[in-house]
Symmetry: C2
Subunit: 199 residues, 2 copies
Amino acid sequence: MGVNKAIQSIRIPQIVEAAVEIIAEKGIKEATLDAVAKKAGLSKGGLIHYFPTKKDLIEAAVKGFFARIFERGKEIRDNIDDPYEQLASFTWLYDRNDPDYFRGYRMFFEIMTIASADEEYRQIFHQWVNGWVELLKASIEKGVERGDFEVENPEEAAKTISAIYQGVASRWFLDPENHSDEWARETVRNLIKFIVSKK
Amino acid sequence: MGVNKAIQSIRIPQIVEAAVEIIAEKGIKEATLDAVAKKAGLSKGGLIHYFPTKKDLIEAAVKGFFARIFERGKEIRDNIDDPYEQLASFTWLYDRNDPDYFRGYRMFFEIMTIASADEEYRQIFHQWVNGWVELLKASIEKGVERGDFEVENPEEAAKTISAIYQGVASRWFLDPENHSDEWARETVRNLIKFIVSKK
DNA sequence: CGGTTTTTAAACTAATTGGTCGGTTTTTTG
DNA sequence: CAAAAAACCGACCAATTAGTTTAAAAACCG
């Protein structure tokens, strides 16, 4: 009796998508339930039916967003064979024409800011970072096995590369005037090469 | 008649300081005028007398904060002679016991998030980045002159080092579980060494 | 001191918004 | 088909808060 799985499997992604959109537009605090409901094509009452509180809604949006970006990264990497090119494959993040460009960075900054003061979100961020580090580590280990790389501690190297991606991303997004796509991509590629290269 | 300069020169820094404190605590959106007024030791009416709108108050807090951190960085660097040590001197940012530790990072994330959607704040961020890049560039040029470094384009190198500082800082602050002070400092030092070293 | 101006406090206003609630429509199920 | 459950709606409530107003207090000056 009861739950209509078919409609839920449509409504929930629909609402989450709308929430991501509104958050990117206005920020988390200013993202109102009315706005999300409207964007998702239902009423506030309807929205509340699926996500009883704003907190639930935001959490779903954050996690859904993270999962999607992570999947994209993984897929792109998995289509590449060369370990160095795998490590450099995340430069798709530095593309101002990507459909996720604005939404993605806005979400990311919002989440970081919340995480800077909220333990629960810090955990979510921690898991996100861990995911990327694992991905990078696997490529480094592959390169070491092949004899292409020389890396003492793949985990440390992966953390460093991941942090570089983030630092370059912040500058590239927030100060486009001085940080071109080229700059972002070349900077990351050079630093990765240094980190994994034979001494 | 008229403006009492003496009291203004006390009140304004007092209010700005209180605003930074409250923003770090609650975030910009949740920083209420009442809370700032209370922390600064006057009433909301008094606060409004000095800063007619919340926007004015926040802007003063942001600029005041940026100026203070920048001054600290400059002063520490200027007490060092060796160009490489100058470049590495900003690792004081990776100190969890620093009195500005929590406030500083919180402010920084808040500002970045606003800048990600607001042209005016993007300009402020741009100037901030420029300031650091200039500082770093000067040290690089000094090293090149001395014959310690080999750098084709000091400006580019400075931008890269600056971005690395930021990426490492984000990870170090948001995911302390996996990113120790040691890690942050050593990572930055190694990467700087690579960037300026003779090939 | 007396009067004038500046500064402060606190009550108030208007707008926003998360969440509630009573009810209606739609779907499922026995 | 009927009854029960789920999905959905939108008016309403209560809390919050930026900014205004008003009146008292403090500072200043001749």
